[in-house]
């Protein structure tokens, strides 16, 4: 916890946080989300929630900075990062600070995590220090669920293993709408109607691909997944409706208004051998290919990019690229997510649970039995 550096609380702040946190953990509820203001997966967002987040992001972005900094003045947000990150960590931190919140950054190096402290205990410690929301980046899929359950706090998933990166998918939606010149205020399920998004590269190991493939079709888009079988198994089709596999990159490009490139995640390639020369030939987005197959398409990349591998510099820096826009939009979206986590909407006593219900079979006999006997 050495890296915690929020300012000393004033007396009122101490008073405000003296009531919770409880020492005893609340008993885990039957459903898995202890706090529905968490964002663990895009599947827990109703389409209306997406619209609301987009609207709030714009509202916060447009607000005068001094007034905006009153929104969450002295509220406490912890950034718990078990994996390195540039974009996500910085933009979450800037987002929290932009709303006036105090932030503490805890990374797995330089904290008691190095001494073997568990995720649960780290979460309880942060809660005891007054954290009201935890933003978690973790190398293990599903870790945010454990943290949310252990702390009862709203948890924002800033990327968990190969599972999801929901804030990235939301900032991607904002970037797409702006690049396409489409209104954010259209009914949620039509936001991206008629748009084909080609997501290309290492789908298997990509949490960005999963979050986008799960979210975009619900907003009306068609998702084309593109890559070699070793990085894109056929089972990816079963993520949900509105998803197709197109192994020929040029054919995918010809159908796409948006092309999203992904890095090969070397750190997660266990036992998979990729012939990089062949991969580059088949799947690299370079200017000639772009000119031939998708001269109008918008080019995206969640970063980090490996220039010269999945994408060439002229494309990444070219006129069709909105890669820097994605990063910029990250701050607005993350302001909205932090705000949503800490402030309950007026007139809404219990936030909606969204359509993730079908996932919540934990300890529920009825649900479990529905699948069988």
């Amino acid at each position: 916890m050495t890296a915690a550096h929020w300012p000393l609380p004033t007396m009122t702040a101490i008073k405000a946080i003296s009531e919770p946190p409880r020492v005893a953990l609340p008993t885990p509820p039957a459903t898995a989300h202890p706090c529905s203001r968490s964002l663990l997966s895009v599947t827990s967002l109703a389409v209306e929630d997406v619209s609301a987040i987009l609207g709030l992001a714009t509202e916060l972005e447009d607000q005068e900075p001094a007034a905006r900094a009153q929104r969450l003045a002295h509220r406490r947000v912890a950034l718990l990062f078990y994996e390195s990150s540039t974009r996500t960590r910085t933009s979450f931190e800037l987002a929290a600070k932009g709303l006036g919140a105090d932030t503490a950054l805890i990374s797995s190096q330089s904290s008691s995590i190095e001494k073997g402290e568990s995720l649960k205990d780290t979460g309880i410690t942060l809660r005891a220090l007054g954290a009201e929301c935890i933003i978690l980046r973790h190398l293990s899929s599903g870790a945010p669920y454990l943290l949310a359950q252990a702390t009862g706090l709203p948890v924002l998933n800033a990327g968990d293993g190969m599972h999801e990166h929901p804030s990235q998918a939301l900032l991607d939606v904002r970037t797409m709408l702006r690049a396409l010149g489409r209104p954010e205020t259209a009914p949620g399920e039509t936001l991206l109607q008629g748009i084909t998004v080609a997501i290309t590269g290492d789908i298997l190991h990509s949490r960005v691909a999963r979050s986008n493939a799960l979210l975009l079709p619900r907003l009306g888009a068609r998702v084309l997944l593109c890559g070699p079988p070793a990085l894109l198994p056929d089972v990816a089709l079963e993520l949900g409706p509105g998803i197709a596999i197109e192994r020929d990159f040029d054919r995918a490009l010809k159908q796409a208004q948006i092309v999203m490139m992904l890095r090969i995640q070397k750190e997660r390639l266990t036992g998979v051998h990729i012939d990089l020369e062949e991969y580059t030939t088949r799947y690299q987005l370079h200017s000639e290919r772009l000119r031939t197959s998708a001269p109008q398409a918008i080019v995206m990349h969640p970063g980090p990019m490996i220039r010269g591998l999945e994408i060439t510099s002229d494309v990444a820096d070219g006129p069709q690229s909105v890669i820097a826009e994605q990063v910029r939009n990250g701050v607005a979206i993350r302001m909205a997510l932090i705000h949503r986590a800490l402030v309950s909407e007026p007139g809404k006593t219990a936030p909606k649970a969204g359509p993730a219900k079908k996932l919540t079979v934990r300890k529920s006999p009825a649900a479990g039995k529905g699948s069988g006997a």
Partner: protein, 435 residues
Amino acid sequence: MNAILIRGGHLVDPSAGIDASRDLLLKDGRVAAVEPPGKLTAAAKQADAEIIEAGGLVVAPGLVDIHVHLREPGQGYKETIATGTAAAAAGGFTTVCAMPNTVPVNDSVETTRWMQSAERNPSARVFPIAAATRGSMGEALTEYGSLKAAGAVAVTDDGKPILGEAIMHQALAAAARAGLPVIQHAEDTRMTGGCSMNAGALAFRLGLRGMPVAAEAGLVERDLRLLAELKGGRAHLHVAHLSTAAALDAVRKARRNGLHVTCEVAPHHFVLTEAAVGEYNTNAKMNPPLRAESDRRAMLEGLLDGSIDCIATDHAPHAVHEKEQEFERAPNGITGLESALGLALDVLHRKHKVSLSRLMTLLSTQPANLLNLRGRGSLSVGAFADVVLFDPKAEWTFRASATRSKSSNTPFDGWPMLGKVRLTISEGRVTYRAD
């Protein structure tokens, strides 16, 4: 006291083909008499027997679980032989066979004897299953003859499957000479590194690496090929906790070809599917993992058509702090001794019309026969006085917090169960009595 008369109950003893009202007299740790109702009154009086009224209850041979992890020696914080067998007794089990993945691994006569000592204070008879190779390292065979003489009833490297073809061949041949079965946890671990659930659409969506069906089926097929090469000998391969339709098909085919191969299935594999993993529920994480619905149905079919020999729980206790971890880090395994009968009665008996006699075959008679546990799994005169009395119609809710195990890592907390154990007697001693 050394005599007990159980009267007025409905006796189900598949070993003797009895499924009728019978009174049962137990004396000096053995079954002394089985007679129609009322015929044993005089004999009971003479023996000064305690009388247990079993009206409305099923009286059956004590259940036999040939696959449990009792964690002793070495991991007493998860379970001890005393607590594990107390859970067994509460679940109606009178005999359990303890896997060798203890600390140290049970690959010795000393540990095998230690586990059976009365000082462990067991509430059920414990038969150790010894390691098939030293330290379960898959390199050098253990001493099968002396392990058998010390009480081991089979050999296995459970959890650390024997991948080497030559060593597996040697193990099957040496075990055949010693008259022991070789039990294989069928998982080609070269295909499952870093995997934490069943391979498929759900694993993909959850971003977890999946164990393919082929990792199980492939190793079963390999072992069956080795068994076929030894044909003519007395080699007996037993496949532990079968979980896939493909592996079951391989076992079926081999049996048709006359090979001596048997198999078991765990309750969770015929009750649950991978969907129970839900949002990373570590109490639904075990190895082999929960599989697809088609595999679950195949397990049910195998139990119904007789190609699966018995039910075994793979009772695998773990401490709370071990399961409250990231899904990929949490250890494999769930407890199972206290939920097995309630699930089997609910799912197999009530929903799939498996007769009580057939159910007792799967839970008692056949597992005892498989590992040559003489005098177990039967209520014939002279057999051990291992008896379970249960109310086959009682509906109840399983509570993990009420467990007698030291651990409560179960996905069945809050589940409805059918059939409540009222009394368990192990070798003539009451080991569990419901309140």
